[in-house]
């Protein structure tokens, strides 16, 4: 697995950090709000934030209407990378299944030709079975 995905999963392996991310799904929040809502101490909160920021799971921005207050929000990028990983695997199997379909239908058609029935019991192998495309 690629290191960026590893990093995301490692950051999310901690229950408190998952709770933080869970809360941020509703929208950006001040760190103090998050800490209060989850009963996390201030030092622990900054430790978790450091890990989450380091993994690129969250970032900070200035709150609208109050130039001094900072809020933390989720960054979609790491989750898109996780998704991207799953999509790569799906593409891999999609290719394999397309190739399987081509081969299986060729074999079946050859058996039907030989036996004249759709029983699929014809013992002979399609002589062209090896040729791709």
């Amino acid at each position: 697995m690629r290191p960026d995905v590893d990093q995301t999963l490692a950051a999310l392996a901690d229950p408190s950090r998952r709770a933080i991310v869970e809360l941020l799904r509703e929208g950006p929040r001040r760190p103090s709000e998050v800490a209060a809502a989850l009963s996390i101490t201030r030092p622990a909160m900054s430790r978790h934030l450091r890990v989450l920021r380091g993994a690129g799971v969250v970032d900070q921005e200035l709150a609208e209407g109050d130039g001094r207050a900072r809020v933390i929000r989720l960054r979609p990028a790491p989750f898109e990378q996780l998704r991207g990983w799953i999509e790569e695997i799906e593409a891999f199997w999609g290719d394999q299944l397309a190739s399987f379909k081509a081969h299986a239908e060729r074999v079946y058609a050859a058996r039907l030709r030989e036996s004249g029935s759709p029983s699929g019991e014809a013992p002979e192998r399609d002589p062209e079975g090896e040729s791709q495309r």
Partner: protein, 173 residues
């Protein structure tokens, strides 16, 4: 059934599985037979799909539970065998499961591939589900004193929810 992962089959975990399906004009029993017995003939060739450097390794799938899925190839005059995993379910013509270990996995890391053959009006729908990816990560749950199965279930469910909600939440830039 002492396998710790057995009680919570990762099937229920959204977001932790890749799925692909194809529908073919072949009856299920024959589809199952060709999928397994002729795997080397339909499995794609080339580096993306095969382990041997020239992409010419031969794929084998030994029938029955406990059978191996492996690739063999000649290297420096010797036959080299690389096992991807063992068959864990063999239910012709409906279902097949095997473990899937990529070459870069650690010894205790594995994912699972399930292949389902469903009869349709015109032949068979073949669906591949490749699951267990949430388990492949640097910090193994054992080190956090959490059992693997509950951790996986929690993590996977959570991850799936998060992915779907983030698609709504994600904003430009």
């Amino acid at each position: 059934m002492s396998d710790i992962l057995e009680p919570t089959r990762p099937a229920a975990i959204p977001g932790d599985q890749a799925r692909a399906s194809v529908s073919l004009k072949v009856p299920p029993a024959l589809a199952f037979e060709i999928f397994t017995a002729e795997i080397d003939q339909w499995w794609r060739r080339g580096l993306r799909y095969r382990i041997a450097r020239d992409g010419r390794g031969i794929l084998h799938l030994e029938p029955g539970v406990g059978g191996r899925l492996f690739e063999s190839f000649e290297l420096h005059g010797r036959t080299k065998v690389i096992e991807t995993g063992r068959i864990t379910a063999w239910e012709p013509p409906a279902r097949l499961c095997f473990e899937w270990r990529a070459v870069n996995f650690k010894p205790d890391e594995k994912t699972e591939v399930e292949v389902e053959f469903t009869a349709t009006a015109t032949g068979t729908m073949v669906t591949v589900t490749h699951r267990g990816w949430a388990a492949i990560r640097p910090d193994h749950p054992a080190r956090h004193h959490l059992e693997a199965a509950p951790f996986l279930a929690m993590m996977g469910r959570w991850w799936g929810d998060l992915l779907s909600s983030l698609r709504l939440y994600a904003r430009p830039s």
